[in-house]
Amino acid sequence: MSNDKVITAEQLTKRFGHFTAVDHISFDVHKGEIFGFLGANGAGKTTAMRMLCGLSMPTSGKATVAGFDVYKETEKIKRNIGYMSQKFSLYDDLTVKENMKFYGGIYGMSDKFIKEKTGYILNHLHLESEGDKLVKSLPLGWKQKLAFSVAIFHEPGIVFLDEPTGGVDPVTRREFWNMIYQASDNGITIFVTTHYMDEAEYCNRVSIMVDGRIDALDTPAQLKKTYEAKSMDEVFLKLARKATRIEI
């Protein structure tokens, strides 16, 4: 059981001056799992995720991603993960195909692989006719789906999604989650932050961050039981109301 842990964090902490953004968090994520990372704005979700992705240096604590240390082996971690940031991350002034070619290329994928994969994704998303259009001309929902496809283009073992469905309509959100399930079925571990509590229900396990700490971590069903709540919404409210930190 211990061998299938793809992410481990132990007392992981990040301080910015006197401000402790992430406060001694510990958790494990198993292979193939959809791990929900919940918390109010400013609870420290993004900071925690950035540390795991090698974008931010932890202040203290230990963590490994795909078996590699977040202090010393970030470049190895980067080979094994995909990342979709809160900010939109495709190039607006490149076409859909050019974006895929670029990101595939810098991950060292072969021309043949890039071509096949691009065709597969466009076909799968029913976007064949949009392949040569500039990304900026596409609606947000499509862009988000494309960004996710690009994040897992190089077939990483783990993908980190930072509020991937922010500002997207309910239908597209549903479709987006179908894509997540599909990726999960293909053995990709999903680490996702979200504000939407219905999305939390889709996760295998959920952690709830309050003021930089992880206050709860379990399956959605178990969490509802523990907190005697009818929905994840209620669980979240019960926990998030304890927050004392002002929003940043």
């Binding site: 974008l55 931010s56 490149l94 290329g105 810098i106 060292g108």
Partner: protein
């Protein structure tokens, strides 16, 4: 190598799709080179002159017509009251006052000497200085003519006269444009090199794509080379465009070889691109990058010897110019274009510029972090 190929492909696609950059690259050199050299002319013309003539004699008339026919002066007003002329200076209508006293002719003829009074508007120091000097020369010339008129046989002249003839090396006609155009070209290259690079990288920071790049296993030097090479090529393109304009519009053909110019420019661009890179690592958004590069550019231009000679700067300012890459390139450009200096003549500058390139890029690479 393959990673670099993808980076360059992406960068060039973005550049060619950005009409603002393309316009900047074409229009900036054309406008700057066609307009600035005409405006940045040190020769003073159109100096407004007020003449107060209390004498109203033949000699005073002759003097005035000699001054106005020199081409440097415009007779603004002709009066017989100093207060009125001073008013003209106060209203900024006049730059210079020449007062011819009563009995000017009489004194000149009878006593062999006469006095003139000159007053200058020193708000524009350069204009006042040069105008005063021009006027002085014209009056002395006039003085000699008067003497010649009286002493028909100059060899009996009691006073020996020294006449100075000068010849201007490397720029025989003292054409100011020959001096300015190479300098303006340098400024152009500097602006294209540092601003475009800095803004390009900071833009990726703003959009958030840089984070996506940072989370890939891309090597730091790959990313940086991917940014530097396109703008290095763009810089050399702007230089070519500038040299063509210099030739077509001003007939400036470098006395030295194009090869020398391009070798130095290639190294210079590396240094300047490093500067742009450095600016981008210290800026969070495009506004900051713009302000920072504007600040640096101001210092570079004013302490670069484009408009004012470095040799006439105070010592401390001269020391600063030694840390200004622009001053070296302006110097080299003028040496090669006007004097025809070759690579061996500018060896020292080349080594210094390599130093700049290494330090600026090293510093930039060091402070560029994939992780915060």
């Amino acid at each position: 190598m393959r990673t670099l190929k993808f980076l360059l492909q992406k960068e060039f696609r973005q550049i060619f799709r950005d009409p603002a950059i393309l316009r900047l690259i074409f229009i900036m050199p054309v406008i700057q080179l066609l307009v600035l050299p005409w405006a940045a002319d040190y020769e003073m013309k159109n100096i407004n002159l007020s003449v107060i003539d209390h004498d109203h004699s033949g000699y005073s008339q002759k003097l005035i017509s000699k001054i106005t026919s020199s081409g440097y002066f415009i007779l603004n007003d002709y009066s017989n009251s100093f207060d009125k002329s001073l008013g003209e200076i106060e209203h900024d209508c006049s730059d210079l006052i020449l007062e011819i006293p009563a009995n000017f002719e009489q004194d000149l003829v009878k006593e062999d000497k006469a006095k003139l009074f000159m007053a200058m508007n020193a708000i524009n120091g350069v204009k006042a200085n040069l105008g005063g000097a021009y006027l002085n020369t014209i009056i002395q010339d006039y003085n000699r003519e008067v003497r010649m008129e009286w002493i028909q046989l100059p060899r009996f002249s009691p006073e020996t006269q020294i006449e100075v003839t000068s010849s201007n090396w490397f720029n025989p006609l003292m054409n100011y444009k020959y001096f300015m155009v190479p300098g303006i070209l340098v400024i152009l290259l500097t602006m294209v090199g540092s601003n475009l690079t800095a803004i390009n990288i900071v833009k990726e920071k703003e959009i958030g794509t840089i984070e996506q790049i940072n989370v890939t296993p891309i090597k730091k030097y790959h990313f940086i080379l991917g940014k530097l090479i396109p703008f290095w090529i763009l810089g050399l393109f702007v230089l070519t465009l500038g040299l063509i304009i210099a030739r077509l519009a001003y007939g400036i053909i470098p006395a030295g070889s194009f090869f020398t110019i391009y070798v130095f420019a290639a190294i210079y661009l590396l240094a300047i691109l490093g500067l742009g890179l450095l600016i981008s690592t210290y800026s969070v958004n495009q506004q900051q990058a713009m302000l920072l590069s504007f600040f640096v550019m101001m210092i570079f231009i004013l302490l670069g010897g484009l408009y004012t000679s470095i040799d006439s700067m105070p010592e401390w300012a001269q020391t600063i110019t030694k840390f200004n890459p622009v001053s070296y390139f302006i110097n080299v450009m003028r040496m090669v274009v006007l004097k025809g200096s070759s690579l061996s003549d500018i060896k020292e500058q080349i080594f210094i510029m390599i130093g700049f390139a290494v330090i600026l890029n090293g510093w930039a690479i060091f402070s560029y972090r994939k992780r915060s």
